[in-house]
Symmetry: C2
Subunit: 137 residues, 2 copies
DNA sequence: AAAAAAATGCACTTCTGTTGCATGGCAACT
DNA sequence: AGTTGCCATGCAACAGAAGTGCATTTTTTT
């Protein structure tokens, strides 16, 4: 528990009770979560608080947004492999068509793409949909 | 005009006035459009009609959805290079951070990605964000 | 012309994301 | 300890897009 407090402080985020809970929830999830997921997990917490908690976490490089094409934004903890701090999160995401969960494949980077003349790439997002290891087994 | 009628009929879509207008609008746009865009273009038309027109077009393989990460679904005409009919739309999309328009790069296919064991790919979506040829010139 | 089928339009709902404002709690300072 | 001020929290309300149900109009078919 203390380690989380220390971690949050190192990111310049005040370790309030709510934030600790949200962080722990994210840490024990190994998939990306929507605001709604978190809302359901903590029935008593206010949506706005959770919303702003995620915003804060995002600004401070604790979580990153995941757009998996489902139409609702998801969030996942930044990890060693994820260079969100640099602003370039180039690992890819996998969305399972069966269990509907989205996982970060932090090891797998997006390959080099060569664009037509005049196009300048600044950021990219690659989502692969299919069956995850859990559901295919 | 007649060519559009014939085309729509070949796709088993009845060529109503509204649908011809929407098709022509999509054809003259060289970028992906949201429902809202179309709504604005035809002030007198009802949103639901346009909504269902796009749904119909999508089902019949006339347009395909584009998810460019802006949070609102866009639509673009299917073209020669686009294999939407097979259910696999593997070309990539470019979203300009300057003019906010999204274009299909039908020529550019998503490269082969090898996934971890147990993951089975069925579909994928790659969006590149940056500056488009118009804005970089 | 009548019946059937399909398209359109209206109203309304839901879901997500977002902001403004009031309140409450913690922290620093006197 | 008391006061001040910042930051977090909670409530309410709004905005935008997606989607549904039903009545009405248009088109096709018989």
């Amino acid at each position: 528990m203390d380690t989380i407090v220390i971690f949050l402080e190192s990111k310049k985020v005040r370790p309030t009770a709510m934030r600790l809970l949200v962080y722990k929830y994210m840490a024990q999830s190994n998939v990306a979560r929507t605001l709604g997921d978190i809302e359901n997990a903590f029935a008593k917490a206010d949506r706005t608080t959770l919303y702003r908690t995620l915003k804060t976490f995002e600004e401070k490089g604790i979580v990153h947004q995941v757009d998996d094409g489902t139409g609702t934004i998801k969030y996942a903890l930044c990890e060693a492999g994820c260079n969100c701090d640099i602003g370039r999160d180039l690992h890819l995401h996998f969305h399972c068509n069966n269990c509907r969960e989205t996982t970060c494949l932090t090891e797998h980077k997006i390959p080099q793409i060569n664009l037509p003349d005049g196009y300048i790439a600044e950021d990219m997002n690659l989502v692969i949909k299919g069956i995850c290891e859990h559901c295919s087994g």
